[in-house]
Homo-oligomer: 435 residues x 2
């Protein structure tokens, strides 16, 4: 007797929407931490976010149906944080601390919904823009990216038969597990999942997280995905992102104020968070300019996340800076999170293990690495692209990111030039941005 | 909402037996062809079959629980051929021919059940013996082996968690598919599944068959497994086996009669079958002795299955023999079926493609190749062993197999010696029997 779950089968054939984002907690934890601060200190600021597909060769508007995209975005807008999610946010311990989210903030969050979006097709790409209060638009970044990326892989896979899909996921699992077995050889490794925004799909991210939990044990310290952290009783991981200095910089009234913005952000941050949440993200306008003028109190923070700098050089520069400030790097934390994969993790680990506390945020190459295992005719469609959702304006004023990788610069040319006058140009050469 | 099929879940936890053999057609097709002839010409002959585990290092009685083994064997004894199976056997076309099975035979088969078995533990191994009419005992060979092999893999896997199993099968699928992709590069390849008896499990064999069907298309010509052929609308593949000459040889009344037995078998065979079923299996008492005295009419048969000879040398010897008989080898068929795997298939293909019609029967290395993909602590338990179920006696007289590989000799030493006096010793050196 062949056992078929009839209800399930009928549902599979008849449902109108297979939602990609099913919960507002299906986002990165740092979004919530930042949101609490934005809501506390900048609740009247408007911020415009927009989608940037850096992989121009991929014409998203040809791959993804506009109707489907709208349906997914609309579905995400219908979500509110559920009762049990609210209870968990209020009752759970994050980074070893209870009640990290204040009752007033949670009360506001309870009725939160994603704001409107603007969508149009231009030259084979989607222009997807979110206007409104920063507190609202910031929350679109992760779900918008996850939706685009999963619609893209669904579209690529729509040409595959059931058996080809079986092979595809078998190979993806085998590939992923080979990575786990390599990472297992690094003693004291600390690694977390940072792969929500560019994941192949929600289910695949969940499987990858399960694989890290099963395969790495203690070395797997958690996931940036709040929903997965809640469902799997994992630590939610994350601190802060470039949007904080970007928005505050856009609002700066003078060059001098602009120059100080990168530090002001962290002054504000420590009004809200402490301990292991005190992690500096130094590269928004270039790490070398940041370190040159950084106040001494930042050397006492737990660590740095040298995001876009080449990891070995970037890490070494920060260690030097700590030493100049009389800090012992072995008590400090470096979190590497830019385009990590097994090989880069191994290299960084070999270079820094024992010299500094190390942690890795593994993103796109964890949750969306189907390279080399896909039937040729759909291979391109399952290759991860470099797509981001960035602040473009704050209160109508243009926002800029310089980054340590000149390929990641964003902003209007004349504004970028002004920022470069103030912060200097990147000391690092441009490196291709693959993911 | 997590969708759980409650009935299925409860059943999974409560069932007493997960049967390995669920149908009498879950056997090799050649068993049915031979059975029709045995029933027609030798229905009063008694034949004893017994299990031989050539991989002595594996102590089967330590790995497999006796109660479970008895339960599975008992379950197989409860089976009869079902109505729809009978209809299919009667109505289907085999090797392009309708009504290959005669109505009288099918009528007898309709009430067939597997006969009793004798089981005891001796020195860490199971002595499993089947006494009775040849028509009955012959049918135990394949299910008995499939049961032992699957119980063995179940036992090995009982120590694995759900996630480890997920990885295991993902890797097995990826490994299998890599083989398929290699085989796909060989134009005009003809290959079939011969992996029933030593399969990892029924479900895994079914998946492998599905993979060959999906991946090789026309190159996959069918399966020896009658049940899978029926269920998947594939060709049932197979002709005859060593037990025919072994039994007839045991019954021979003189050395001269013994010497002629290998040819008498095929005289009988052609009273039942023709066309592509006229395939010579020459190696029971050594291929060179067989060819030396083989009658000319055998050169007109469709092909040979040079089983235990080293494939390149064995194939070449048969081609020479055809040429000596004025036959064009390009119109003749060679079927290779001994311990084939991708590499041996490629080698044989490269050597013979274009010189002869080629076909491969892919057995243990198709349906039970978990080498290199299993967690270390259970690796041994999932490594295929060389286990066979052979005729030991016919009407109380000892049966012998010499084979082209001295490691595969079976029979009482003094009888083996007598056979070697008559047929000569193998011209080939002993090769380790892995599967």
């Amino acid at each position: 007797m062949v056992a078929t779950d009839i209800a399930n089968r009928v549902w599979s054939h008849a449902f109108k929407l297979d939602p990609i984002v099913r919960s507002l907690l299906d986002t990165d934890f740092y979004k919530l931490l930042m949101l609490q601060m934005i809501w506390g200190l900048h609740r009247d600021v408007d911020a415009t976010f927009h989608l940037i597909n850096r992989t121009k060769s991929v014409r998203l508007a040809d791959e993804i149906d506009e109707g489907e995209l709208r349906a997914q975005l609309d579905h995400a807008r219908s979500l509110t944080i559920t009762k049990r999610e609210m209870i968990w946010l209020a009752g759970n311990t994050f980074y070893g601390k209870a009640q990290i989210f204040k009752p007033e903030f949670l009360q506001w969050l309870e009725t939160f919904r994603l704001p409107e979006y603007e969508l149009k097709k231009v030259d084979g790409q989607y222009e997807l823009t979110f206007h409104g209060r920063w507190t609202d638009t910031t929350m679109w970044e992760v779900p918008a990216l996850a939706i685009i990326n999963e619609l893209r892989s669904r579209s690529a896979m729509s040409g595959l038969g059931k058996f080809e899909l079986d092979i595809l996921y078998a190979r993806a699992k085998a590939k992923m597990w080979n990575k786990v077995e390599r990472l297992r050889r690094l003693p004291d490794l600390k690694i977390s999942d940072f792969g929500t925004r560019r994941r192949h799909s929600f289910l695949w991210q969940r499987w990858c997280v399960e694989a890290l939990k099963e395969g790495l044990g203690e070395a797997f310290i958690g996931t940036s995905n709040v929903l997965l952290a809640m469902e799997s009783d994992l630590e939610a991981i994350g601190t802060n992102a470039h949007e904080l200095p970007m928005v505050l910089a856009a609002l700066a009234e003078s060059d001098e104020e602009l120059r100080l913005t990168p530090y002001r952000v962290f002054e504000e941050w420590q009004r809200y968070y402490d301990g292991n949440l005190l992690v500096v993200l130094p590269d928004t306008f270039g790490t070398s300019a940041f370190l040159e003028r950084a106040p001494a109190w930042l050397a006492q923070w737990t660590g740095f996340r040298p995001d876009s700098a080449p990891p070995i050089e970037g890490g070494a520069a920060i260690i030097d800076w700590w030493q100049r400030h009389g800090e012992d790097p072995r008590e400090k934390l470096l979190i590497f999170s830019d385009a990590m994969d097994v090989e880069t993790i191994e290299n960084v680990y070999i270079r820094f293990h024992g010299r500094v506390r190390l942690s890795f945020g593994w993103g796109t190459n964890l949750t969306n690495d189907f390279r080399g295992i896909v039937p040729e005719r759909v291979a391109g469609g399952l290759e991860a692209i470099s797509i981001v959702c960035k602040v473009a304006e704050a209160n109508g004023r243009p926002a800029v990111k310089l980054s340590d990788n000149p390929s990641k610069v964003s902003g209007l040319p004349q504004e970028v030039e002004r920022y470069q006058r103030i912060f200097g140009r990147s000391q690092y050469p441009a490196r291709e941005v693959l993911v």
